[in-house]
């Protein structure tokens, strides 16, 4: 794949809305938290929020200034000076604040800003935090999402999201977590934790049935931005990061095709592929090529390759199922989770027919592991239906519908059930 050859389409892959407030807030917050120390994370956040409110009040009258970051920074500095004046103890407990105030203010050092953000990114993937706290904190502290936006991205109540973020911050504060990019010995392992968190974030952003909720789309965009941040720094750029970015871009390329005009969710075989964003797909392939170096084959490499097979197929029918199966075989070895094994069954069924799929499903023995995973039952129903085992299909669909689904999926399954019952009453009335 050529690097940035002039024949590539214009890069219209960045979002139409710019996120000055969100991203500048995130940059400022990272700088302050790092300078003040994890112990004073709340103060750092107050200072940032205060600077944002000031910005709101000024910019209403004069618009966003040419250098919003510098503007916010100078307001934050003034506020930090006030805090030091007000609280003499603070100066001793947080020597970083005075040191930060002593830093030359302008021009802002882009490298330093990047360091601050990466340090924050690693702090949010601290080993002592639970996975769901890591994503919440990353979205909030690094991506600049408000608590309400985090709540919407996770389908949580605002209270629950706020509790989750508060607990995570308290943990960082109480353990006096270091806010630095880890040293060479710890970097690989900590980078994996960062990538795992971005991966979870990608799944949340792409969760089925939430459709084109702008907050969800923003989550996907942030996944891209976080990968790009990692790639910008010589210490944190790694083939696995390119793989993660490729996967993110392939995933994002399909968002416009995931629903029809009536808001009905479209599966991979029904999506109008001309609505897939080719610019994002091309960027995906570029990063996939860059991922193919080094000695480590991570699961993100394999998953990016899987996503690329779909991205490459111009029609569902022309999907290279054989190649997909060999990739899934690799993935099952590297990362044998029940969901990966279920996806492999789907590919087997596409390649060798529904009977083979049902046999593979039996062999995989996923019943107990995935009994509460709604797609498990939906996949079973589909395999039974394709094998003309309509009663079994109906039972599986009922089992699927007994579990909670997002509304668009629920609609899809209800339609399928009605359709199936019609077929049963037309075709085979005697069977019990």
């Amino acid at each position: 794949m050529p690097e940035d050859s002039p024949s590539l389409p214009p890069d219209n892959t960045h979002a139409a809305t710019d996120h000055v407030f969100r991203h500048e807030a995130a940059r400022l917050r990272a700088s302050l938290v790092r300078a003040f120390g994890a112990r004073h994370i709340d103060l750092a956040e107050d200072v940032v929020q205060d600077a944002l409110v000031q910005a709101l009040k000024h910019w209403r009258f004069h618009g966003v200034p040419d250098n919003p970051g510098a503007w916010l920074l100078s307001v934050a500095r003034r506020r930090a000076i006030d805090e030091l004046r007000r609280d003499r103890v603070l100066e001793r407990s947080a020597p970083g604040i005075a040191a930060w105030l002593g830093r030359p203010q302008a021009p802002r050092d882009a490298g330093l800003v990047l360091d601050d953000q990466l340090a924050m990114l690693f702090a949010c993937a601290a080993p002592q935090l639970a996975p769901e706290s890591r994503i919440a904190l990353m979205l909030h502290l690094v991506a600049g999402f408000s608590v309400a936006e985090v709540a919407r991205a996770f389908l949580l109540s605002e209270d629950a999201a706020s509790q989750r973020i508060l607990r995570a911050k308290r943990l960082l504060r109480d353990e006096q977590a270091t806010i630095e990019v880890p040293d060479e010995t710890h970097l690989p392992e900590r980078l994996d934790a960062v990538l795992d968190t971005i991966y979870l974030m990608l799944n949340e952003g792409h969760a089925p049935g939430v459709g084109n909720d702008p907050v969800r789309l923003d989550v996907l965009e942030e996944c891209t931005r976080l990968c790009e941040l990692l790639l910008e720094h010589p210490r944190t750029t790694a083939p696995a990061v390119h793989a993660m970015l490729a996967m993110t871009l392939f995933t994002r390329s399909r968002t416009d095709a995931r629903m029809d005009e009536a808001g009905v969710l479209l599966m991979l075989d029904q999506q109008p592929r001309d609505k897939w964003n080719q610019a994002l797909i091309q960027r995906g392939f570029r990063h996939l090529a860059l991922a193919a170096s080094g000695t480590r084959l991570t699961r993100y490499h394999i998953e990016a390759a899987i996503a690329s097979i779909h991205a490459r197929a111009t029609t569902f029918e022309s999907t290279d199922w054989a190649e997909l199966l060999s990739l899934y075989d690799l993935l099952v070895r590297a990362h044998p989770t029940p969901i990966v094994r279920l996806n492999r069954v789907v590919v087997i069924a596409m390649l060798h027919g529904p009977q083979a799929g049902l046999r593979a499903l039996d062999e995989a023995d996923l019943q107990s592991a995935l009994a509460n995973y709604p797609p498990f039952h939906a996949v079973r129903a589909q395999l039974f239906e394709r094998a003309d085992l309509l009663h079994e299909a109906r039972a599986a669909l009922l089992a699927a519908l007994a579990l909670p689904w997002p509304a668009p999926h629920q609609r899809l399954l209800t339609d399928r059930l009605a359709n199936l019952e019609q077929r049963i009453s037309n075709g085979n009335p005697d069977r019990p």
Binding site: F21, Q49, R60, G144
Partner: protein, 116 residues
């Protein structure tokens, strides 16, 4: 054509809970409104007022009394102003109706600049 002053009152508690994304939206709406007026040649100017350190001067029984305030913590504070050109008070009201401050602030007071 006369000048009118639009005094924008804020409720200081209101802005605290906006997300960065919402702030971005609010600022964009004010900008759009002001630019639209500017294109019609109706915008004279506008500014934010400082929140702290205001003073009130009052004469009482021949003595000057200077007090602090008004305070930014009050329920309604004058946050800033726009000056616009309009043919009549009615037109000034019409132009102000679309000001996003109606949605996001607490109130707008319109006063005609008096010309004899």
């Amino acid at each position: 054509m006369s000048k009118f002053m639009l005094m924008l009152f804020d409720n200081p508690a209101q802005d605290i809970n906006l997300s960065p994304q919402q702030m971005q939206q609010v600022v964009a709406e004010y900008k759009q409104w002001a630019e639209q007026l500017a294109r019609q040649g109706k915008l004279v100017g506008g500014d934010k007022l400082a929140e702290h350190g205001g003073k009130t001067l009052r004469g009482s029984a021949g003595k000057l009394i200077i007090t602090d305030g008004p305070f930014a913590e009050a329920k309604e504070v004058l946050g800033g102003y726009f000056v616009i050109n309009a043919n009549s008070l009615d037109e000034a009201v019409e132009l102000s109706k679309t000001c996003p401050h109606i949605k996001y602030g607490s109130s707008i007071q319109i006063r005609k600049v008096d010309e004899v």
